[in-house]
Symmetry: C2
């Protein structure tokens, strides 16, 4: 961050949003000493390689949960505890502050697990060593989601250290299985129903439209994670001796994958679009006016051309339309040199992003059937659904939304844009459906944060302004 | 091997093929003491993990070459030396015995490098620890080709230890790069033209039709090894956020692979079959009468159904017709758990087996062009040809063939069937084309030897009878 930037930012900050309720916490959060200490704490948090997909990192996840529990207690939260997982699954961390009688209760949700770091050689800095370059902090989890939920914790700290109290009741819940699709969420929610009871939920696990264009997400796509195995001969065969007479499982797998879309980019599973709700023209109009144009998206991604379902903009394809994406494929030998085999097995992972009103169970049946029809009788295919989450649309007119809009205006000088995201946060849909609670998805990531990819980063300017936004939000919602 | 089997085999052996010229060497080769010593030597040879595809094993390959050079010298061969590779490529081993003036000179070729062992978990015994179970010796290289060229060496030993001489002049050449397509063979052959000069060549690197049905291969398919990379975005993208708007390189790769064949199993590359020579009806008649039927092949492979080019039997598809086989495919994340990405790259390896008169360079151009037309404009594809070898048909009427037929009759009690193989031995085509020399492909492998696959094995009965066959062959050709 340049000195000039710091100076102008500070002037601007001092001119915006100082009310009597937030003056002390905001001033505390802007102090150079706090900011430097917080970065060092975030560096410690990031150093835990909490990759929930990989059992070898379960120990790191448990160690990180310990660190977080200590941290919540140090902040001054009460009832801090590590909530055990279901049958050996990964723990979450809980803490609360419930000393504001008559005020609403806000659940702050985040997740401290992260995506795998493969391909490691593509990282320019060590993924679990927070590295600041310019305005950005580079690390796995910097934006998704350690850096973002840490914003909540630092807003709480700013209040408690300066005023000794919070303007409302707070519950903090940090999950450790979000990046594997929260497979135990329903069971945990059922068990902890009373503990998590709240009037509203704040989640910062999404991105803004662009720098200086904050947004609140009111719709998330659902997800079906699938694993498809195709097996042929009992074992690998010499490709010279048998090539031409035995169907190659990798070829059969490619045929199936190829048959999942039509030539134009539509998903080719019969019935796939049947339940998809058409958006009212006014909503599509809003998307056209306020959301990214195709060229902007292509520029962001450094791509020359887009792809996908005809009749929809790239933004629409990413948010309001469903999608099927191959996440990984493997089979045979691709190591050094070559190996002349007909491999006996191929495997692909793919995920289907669902939109209202697609039902994961029904889509699972449709794809199961479609894959059977695409499977050549000379091989066997097996489809496994590894996780599922429904799509969700949140109401925009709840008081907690109003508070969030106000807080954003005070901090950023502009109103947030209401948008939909293509991503999935299983918790959101389940909380909304099971508890009927209002949820605010107010994220501070940027579109070029490289989440789930090498060189993930988080903007420090957004980190610090995010803390100010949450301070304002707590004050507004607590009014 | 059961005691009963040993006994009956020995009786049979003693009754077959004892002429004055071969009596001593055959008797030596049948002695229990030799046999047990030879198995222990073969175990040492197999213990070198000589995987030429993997640079980490180059040291093992050089150590194995040293071991072989010592072994050739101990046998009594002259001019033993390790022939250096071309520009750091892998060495071969040479030795000769040229003290039979007026007699023909026979080049004995074999290769001491082996295929990779992946997938390792599928092995039931350690791949580089020779393990005898029943009649079979299990190990990588047992059949392809350490066990088979060791037959030649032990036939030589049987002669030299008993009669002090050989019935003809011998040159032994053991290559270290066969399993990676002998990329430096042309250069080595040019450099060593004088050294390798011979009247005929014997290669044991193929298989018999079945147990008790020896065969001589007179045709080999050629090979083009290819690597296809498809790249999309600059780096992996979050599949939730961007899924549906960005063409997935793994999907594009699957579309290309799927487009390499038509629905019926023919290669779909335009012009691919244009140069393929149609077999005369008499030759197809011979195949129908003498070679394996579809059901036998399916039974061997434990498969319920075959696949491939309509109008041809499975055996024909494996030998006289060309084939395109995917050897490996990789991209994205397929480790533990899941990773929600649109990967930025996918890669496939495939090999094309060529038949007369397909020209590798011309086929390379056709496939290059076809892949360009199959590549969606939203991604880039890059095809690399990693090695190439022409198909070959050998004349069946040379005196060395007559000698081989006689030797097989004497040892096995039946004449060998002349067949074609679907595999490729780059040396054969190059020697035949460059030196115009007669080549006998007399192999002792069995169709269920699992060559190139886990649990490779070699029949000990075939190993010992192979030695007897080569002793007879040397005598016959030396007459």
């Amino acid at each position: 961050m340049s000195i000039f930037y710091c100076f102008t930012a500070r002037i601007k900050n001092f001119m915006l949003g100082f009310t009597s309720a937030t003056a002390a916490p905001l001033s505390y959060s802007r102090h150079k000493q706090q900011r430097s200490r917080w970065l060092s704490q975030l560096t410690q948090l990031i150093a835990f390689p909490t990759i929930s997909a990989q059992p070898k990192h379960y120990r790191d996840i448990r160690a990180c949960a310990q660190w977080l529990a200590r941290h919540l207690a140090e902040l001054g939260l009460h009832h801090v505890q590590i909530l055990p997982g279901i049958r050996g699954s990964l723990p979450s961390v809980y803490g609360d502050w419930l000393s504001a009688p008559g005020k609403p209760t806000l659940l702050l949700y985040g997740h401290y697990d992260v995506q795998p770091v493969d391909p490691l050689p593509a990282w320019q800095t060590p993924p679990f060593q927070a590295t600041i370059i310019g305005d950005n902090l580079y690390a796995r989890g910097a934006s998704d989601d350690k850096g973002q939920f840490f914003i909540h914790l630092k807003a709480i700290e700013s209040y408690l250290r300066t005023t000794g109290k919070l303007p409302l009741n707070i519950k903090v819940w940090l999950e450790g299985e979000e990046e594997i699709g929260s497979p135990n969420l329903a069971t945990v929610l059922k068990r902890e129903m009373a503990r998590f009871k709240a009037d509203a939920v704040l989640v910062s696990d999404t991105e803004m439209l662009e720098r200086d264009r904050p947004s609140i997400i009111y719709g998330l796509r659902g997800n079906l994670s699938c694993e498809l195995a195709v097996t042929g001969p009992q074992h690998d065969l010499h490709s010279g001796r048998y090539g031409g007479a035995v169907l190659n499982p990798l070829q059969a797998l490619s045929d199936i994958i190829s048959g999942l879309h039509d030539r134009k980019g539509r998903v080719a599973i019969p019935g796939f679009y049947q339940q998809v709700k058409q958006l009212p023209p006014t909503e599509r109009q809003t998307i056209r006016c306020c959301c990214k144009r195709d060229q902007q998206i292509l520029d962001d991604l450094d791509l020359s051309t887009g792809w996908g379902e005809p009749g929809y903009s790239l933004y629409e394809r990413m948010t309001i339309r469903p999608a099927l994406t191959i996440n990984g494929i493997t089979g045979g030998y691709t190591g050094a040199g070559s190996k002349s085999v007909i491999p006996n097995r191929g495997l692909a992972r793919f995920s289907i992003r669902l939109v209202p009103d697609q039902d994961p169970a029904q889509i699972a049946q449709l794809i199961q059937h479609h894959i059977q029809t695409l499977t050549h009788p000379a091989v066997r295919s097996h489809l496994k659904i590894t996780s599922g989450a429904r799509p969700v649309l949140l109401p925009k007119d709840h008081p907690v939304m109003t508070a969030a809009v106000k807080a954003v205006k005070q901090t950023w000088g502009v109103a947030p844009v209401f948008t939909r995201s293509g991503g999935t946060i299983p918790l959101v849909e389940q909380l909304y459906r099971q508890l009927g609670v209002a949820i605010v998805l107010l994220g501070f990531g940027l579109p070029d944060d490289n989440v789930h990819a090498p060189n993930e980063k988080f903007s420090l300017a957004n980190f610090f302004r995010g803390i100010e936004t949450v301070i304002q939000f707590l004050a507004e919602y607590g009014k």
